[in-house]
């Protein structure tokens, strides 16, 4: 039972990290970025290329974060300038288009062949969990980074002026501008932070899932499910949603088989949303009409 639960938390941490990234972008830009999975994939490939070239771990991290910053600037330009006058649906479809371009670019250059990479800082080392079993040390890095970043982001949004400014811009750009908040700068910061988080997630997840073109896309949907389960507005909810989803998956796989695990996960999600449409940690929002 310990091994099952550790396995569930391990995969749940992956979903949670993806979900936190999705919610972070949503909370800061009020946009769902359907290319988030591909940004994560780019981070994974950057890490793989860096390990192939024998760079230091500090440089690996720096490269991955730098890539995230560059991609974030790109998304800001696309959403604020190129699609700035478009409605929300167009912007969302725009991110879908970007995801297709990014996926195809990786496939064309690297093909669909997978690549194994060592854990950042941990290599291929393992940690005993009892009963003669071990898990990759990277699992605990993912869990640790996931939990720490969740708490840190939550505190940042709630307690800092910059975090509150970002929330204000996401709520209403016009009202934020009237309050003297530099909207454009905040949006740029938001996209950069969201994409840097995505590429960092790619570095952390690559050792667990291997590096291949759809590594991010394959778990993006689970990330959305986890975010919906936890509440799209809540960073903590996203991580908890991910961990819960991982546990639900391994237990339903154990009980009912691999074919049923996705069905059961979605049924549970539907049940939660029927009772709490805002998710487990989301808040009901009232709007004056």
């Amino acid at each position: 039972m310990v091994a099952i639960n550790v396995g569930g938390l391990a995969i749940g941490a992956i979903y949670g990290l993806m979900a936190v990234g999705v919610v972070l972008v949503f909370r800061t830009t009020a946009r769902v970025n359907f290319a988030h999975g591909e940004v994560l994939t780019f981070g994974g490939y950057a890490y793989w290329l860096a390990t192939k070239n024998g760079t230091s771990q500090a440089l690996e991290l720096a490269l991955v974060l730098a890539l995230g910053i560059v991609i974030g600037v790109g998304f800001f330009v696309i959403t604020h300038y190129l699609l700035g006058r478009s409605d929300e649906l167009t912007v969302v479809i725009g991110t879908l288009g970007v995801s297709v371009v990014m996926l195809n670019a990786v496939q064309l250059h690297y093909t669909d062949l997978g690549h194994r990479v060592p854990g950042w800082l941990t290599g291929y080392s393992t940690v005993p969990i009892g009963g003669g079993e071990v898990v990759p040390s990277n699992t605990f890095v993912i869990l640790g980074v996931g939990i720490v970043s969740t708490l840190a982001l939550h505190a940042w949004f709630q307690l800092t002026r910059r975090g509150q400014a970002v929330r204000a811009v996401a709520e209403s750009r016009e009202d934020a501008a009237l309050s003297g908040i530099p909207v454009r700068r905040v949006l740029l910061f938001s996209w950069v932070a969201g994409c840097a988080f995505a590429t960092l997630s790619g570095l952390l997840l690559a050792p667990a899932v291997d590096v291949y073109p759809s590594m991010g896309g394959d778990i993006l949907f689970k990330g959305f499910v986890a975010a919906a389960l936890g509440g799209f507005e809540s960073i903590i909810g996203a991580m908890v949603g991910g961990l819960l989803l991982g546990l639900i998956e391994v237990h339903s796989n154990q009980l009912f088989g691999a074919e049923m695990k996705d069905l059961i996960s979605f049924l549970i999600l539907l049940a939660v949303l029927l009772v709490r449409p805002q998710g487990l940690f989301g808040r009901t929002q009232l709007r004056r009409v």
């Binding site: 091994a3 099952i4 550790v6 396995g7 569930g8 391990a10 995969i11 992956i14 496939q107 093909t111 669909d112 062949l113 997978g114 690549h115 194994r116 291929y124 393992t126 009963g131 003669g132 079993e133 071990v134 898990v135 990759p136 667990a208 899932v209 291997d210 291949y212 073109p213 759809s214 394959d218 778990i219 991982g246 998956e249 391994v250 796989n253 154990q254 088989g257 691999a258 074919e259």
Partner: protein, 396 residues
């Protein structure tokens, strides 16, 4: 008189143009379609197979083509999906005017593609797909290439289980793969007849990243032998988790697995795995025909990842291209689909490189024989073991 002269001139011009047209047809390139899974779970096979076809065609063209006609390759990606297979086959035949298709694709993509080729009366050679449904219901236009009907794989698994005196067997299957679902069903039927004890049968999908449940099921069931029917990426992850869980049970993988990907992704966790193998000589054997094949490949594709390619599918597709070329040669320069079928059905023990015609080829393919009622081609399976990061032959 002038009228007769004009009529004679007109007849001469007409005859010349007909001759020119016929000449043009018999000297124009022969278009070979490659329906390959270049993306998706079977990309490791499709990309490798495309290389094999390109290699064979380059050798054939360098030696004057077939009956003076060069071969031209057109490729469409079937993306490891059934609709991808359908679209690729249609496009190859109807838009690209492929006169024959070699497919290096999963069974899921090949089954509908073969049906399209059959409807459009185009020869289709399934180089990698082992599912019986590719060939049956029987169509005179559809052939199995260097791969083997998975019924033979299932029978081999039962034979090995009895040889190893396996008392409790666990079966792991990727249910997102059409061939694996069929293979499992055939194996379970044969196993039941042979009185084998299946203690657990778990499944996964190609995109799964966590195999905790499957590993725990194996631990609980305590099998003395594990059989895997899946592709390398998921198998590698499963094996890592299995060995991390302290399970040292011997494992047999099916014929989809003896490729370098399995080793590069699985590392030391896949050491000791036995794998069903289709081929006359293992790729890691750098002597003889295989050594020359690999050297030629590396020279022709210097920028390819040589830790991943060539693999078995490269060899199969290479051999199948020569089988097709030989049939085209025997069917004549202006062959039709039906004359090509007639020629293919007269193929007897063909191995390119062993004979006068394609003497320059590397004889790495299995002997091929087709009959009007039997398009299976070959039924030979061998066994490999992963040892020290290499695939080495084992006597079954």
């Amino acid at each position: 008189m002038r009228y007769v002269t004009a009529l004679g001139a007109a007849i001469a011009i007409l005859a010349a143009s007909v001759a020119a047209g016929a000449n043009a047809a018999s000297s124009s390139p022969i278009t070979i379609g490659c329906q390959c899974d270049l993306t998706g779970a079977a990309a490791f096979a499709g990309i490798a197979g495309q290389y094999g076809i390109q290699m064979a065609i380059s050798q054939i063209n360098a030696h004057g083509g077939v009956d003076g006609r060069k071969l031209k390759l057109v490729t469409e990606d079937s993306a490891t999906t059934p609709d991808g297979g359908t679209l690729a086959a249609r496009k190859l035949i109807q838009q690209d005017h492929a006169q024959a298709i070699i497919s290096v694709a999963s069974s899921g993509a090949s089954i509908p593609a073969a049906q399209v080729a059959s409807q459009l009366k185009t020869v289709y050679i399934a180089s990698a797909a082992g599912d019986p449904r590719v060939l049956y219901p029987f169509s005179k236009y559809v052939y199995r290439g260097d791969s083997v009907n998975i019924a033979a794989s299932a029978a081999m698994m039962v034979k090995l289980a009895k040889q190893r005196n396996a008392k409790a067997i666990a079966v792991m299957t990727d249910t997102s793969l059409a061939y694996a679902v069929t293979e499992k069903s055939l194996f379970l039927k044969d196993a039941s007849k042979a009185g084998l004890n299946i203690v657990t049968a778990k499944t996964w999908s190609s995109t799964d990243t966590d195999f905790t449940s499957q590993v725990q099921a194996v631990k609980s069931a305590k099998p003395d032998w594990i059989i895997i029917m899946a592709y390398p990426p998921a198998t590698a992850k499963f094996m890592i988790q299995l060995r991390n869980a302290g399970v040292t049970t011997p494992v047999l993988g099916d014929q989809s697995l003896p490729v370098p990907d399995l080793i590069s992704l699985g590392g030391s966790a896949v050491n000791g795995m036995e794998l069903l193998y289709i081929g006359s000589q293992v790729l890691s054997d750098k002597t003889g025909a295989m050594g020359k094949f690999v050297a030629f490949f590396n020279k022709m594709f210097p920028n390819v990842d040589h830790t991943a390619y060539p693999n078995s599918e490269t060899v199969w597709a290479y051999a199948d291209t020569f089988v097709l070329a030989d049939a085209i040669r025997r069917a004549g320069a202006n062959f039709t689909s039906d004359s090509l079928v007639t020629a293919l059905d007269k193929t007897r023990g063909f191995v390119a490189g062993k004979g006068k015609v394609f003497y320059y080829a590397f004889p790495v393919g299995l002997p091929r024989t087709y009959n009007p009622n039997d398009h299976e081609g070959t039924r030979v399976l061998g066994l490999l073991e992963v040892k020290g990061g290499q695939l080495v032959p084992v006597t079954p």
